[in-house]
Amino acid sequence: MAKESRDVDFTAYVGSRAAWLRNVAYLLCADWHRADDLVQESITKLYTNWSRAARAENLDGYARTVLVNTFLAEQRTSWWRRTRTGFEAADGVATGADLDAALDLRQALAALPPRQRATVVLRYFCDLSVEQTAEAMGCSSGNVKSQSSRALDALRGSAALRAGRAGG
């Protein structure tokens, strides 16, 4: 009975949030196939921790934290997977020349190091505060601030946001 209840609750929750999690995952990894992998793995983790997750005050926040940590952990493991996406070079950083050549925001975002990308997505897509972002990423507020600052500097310097400013 407990298992059935768990499955019903889990299925209902994930069914209502899968699209949102997938969007966050896509912004993190810039690849819809990988985004599906990230969400699939994250909701599997969510299932295994459902008894705790279901009691969380902010279940969306819990799920988002699982997703971001799955993404960040993957950046430092399974090295060969990332070689296909070009996300391997100094913790997944593309070169400055690559950034300059970025033609749109997606490329510029993908060129950021994973943690900078995560801070941008959490703060400006999920609209989290510095403190909430720090909690989701398991780091200090100061780290979030420095990562955000660097990420925004890089994005501003890229063609993507220059174009955004020019276009109003």
Partner: protein
């Protein structure tokens, strides 16, 4: 609500609107996999206890004062703290590194694929993982801090080819690198590259004794360490090509399969030694698969979840189709992105595995040849 920067929020939202591929996310599969993991987790408590009892009989020696160390002996080999702290209170990572680690790396034999041009001779004492990797973007040696949450330092060592002078703008840390003078490294010119904004990442470049430029990139360093740690790493780098022993041989792979990268990583995390040998392959446009060789056992937790999320299993990409076999205490898995049909030229995943010969967990029996 956060301040909107250059319409960033709206533009991010725009990236996930419109025509997107159909989702492959499977809620039922997540529940089934989750149930299986919960069962394994319950059973794993017993298995781990048995493994630890067996592990205490293994012998893993450490290089005293930075001397040679063997590669990890097996899935749960115990480790000890290195001795002979350096004058700075730090000491070499307890892994065979550099010329001093002749027991762990063989002289370069001229035709192997995983042959770093240099190696760390000293690392901060929290660095417990070291990875040699060679891929399309180049080759380097990377050291990591595993077993802790949050941002932990990453150290990367790279050697530029003879005659190549790296440009200041050619950095992985900043869009526009800023150069500033650094103290000489072993009497040779050196300089820093940062993004000029006082961030916690830094690059130190210096000329090696043979005239080639070397570079150590340190990310997520504490402020107090941003000068002394890179300088100390640079001073003790061992220059010279050598071959990394690899725990498997591969033979007879179809010509249509091309290697995209090779890496070998070893680590000691929370008292547990581990290693991973990975080979990435392309089977055609956007068709990738990988072969992974590890000890046959439970891997250490490299990236613990933050407080409140303890107990989550290590990451596993569920869309990977993994087929594995074990032999001589080692385990080899072939993992496939997208359709497993890409492996048909080799006879499927089983056919790929047949082409892999596991060499056990004793590094003295490993090969420095690639594919072996």
């Amino acid at each position: 609500m956060n301040e909107d920067i250059d319409g960033l929020r709206e533009r991010l939202a725009g990236l996930v609107e419109g025509a997107v591929p159909t989702s492959r996310v499977d809620v039922e599969l997540a529940a089934r996999t989750g149930r299986a993991r919960l069962r394994r987790r319950r059973l794993g408590v017993v298995g781990t206890t048995v493994a630890m009892v067996l592990a205490v009989s293994a012998v893993v020696s450490l290089r005293p004062g930075g001397g040679p160390a063997p590669l990890p002996a097996g899935p749960a080999g115990p480790s000890a703290s290195p001795s002979a702290p350096s004058p700075t209170g730090r000491h070499p990572v307890p892994l065979g590194t550099g010329a001093a680690a002749s027991g762990s790396q063989a002289p370069h034999n001229g035709h192997d694929a995983l042959s770093p041009e240099a190696d760390f001779g000293w690392l901060p004492d929290d660095a417990n993982g070291e990875r040699y990797q060679q891929a399309q973007y180049g080759a380097d040696v990377r050291a990591d801090v595993y077993g802790k949450t949050g941002f932990t330092p990453i150290y990367r060592l790279k050697v530029y080819p003879p005659g190549v002078v790296p440009e200041v703008s050619q950095t992985s840390l900043a869009q526009q690198g800023v150069k500033s003078p650094a103290p000489d490294v072993n009497g040779s010119e050196a300089y820093w590259v940062t993004n000029g904004q006082g961030t916690d990442d830094v690059i130190l470049r210096w000329r090696g004794p043979d005239g080639r430029w070397l570079e150590v990139t340190c990310q997520y360093l504490a402020k107090a360490d941003r000068e002394q740690v890179p300088l100390r790493i640079a001073r003790d780098v061992h220059l010279g090509k050598r071959s990394v022993p690899l725990p498997a041989k591969l033979a007879g792979m179809p010509a249509a399969f091309t290697v995209t990268g090779v890496s070998f990583e070893r680590m000691t995390v929370q008292g547990k030694s581990w290693w991973t040998y990975e080979i990435g392959y392309s089977a055609g446009p956007d068709q990738y698969f990988g072969i992974t060789v590890t000890p046959d056992g439970e891997a250490p937790v490299l990236h613990p979840a933050p407080p409140g999320l303890e107990g989550t299993p290590p990451p596993l990409s569920p869309s990977d189709t993994a087929t594995c076999r074990t032999d001589k205490g080692a385990k080899v898995c072939v993992r496939v992105f997208q359709s497993p049909a890409m492996l048909d030229p080799a006879g499927g995943p089983a056919g790929v595995l047949e082409r892999v010969t596991l060499l056990g967990t004793d590094p003295s029996q490993w090969t420095t040849d690639f594919p072996g």
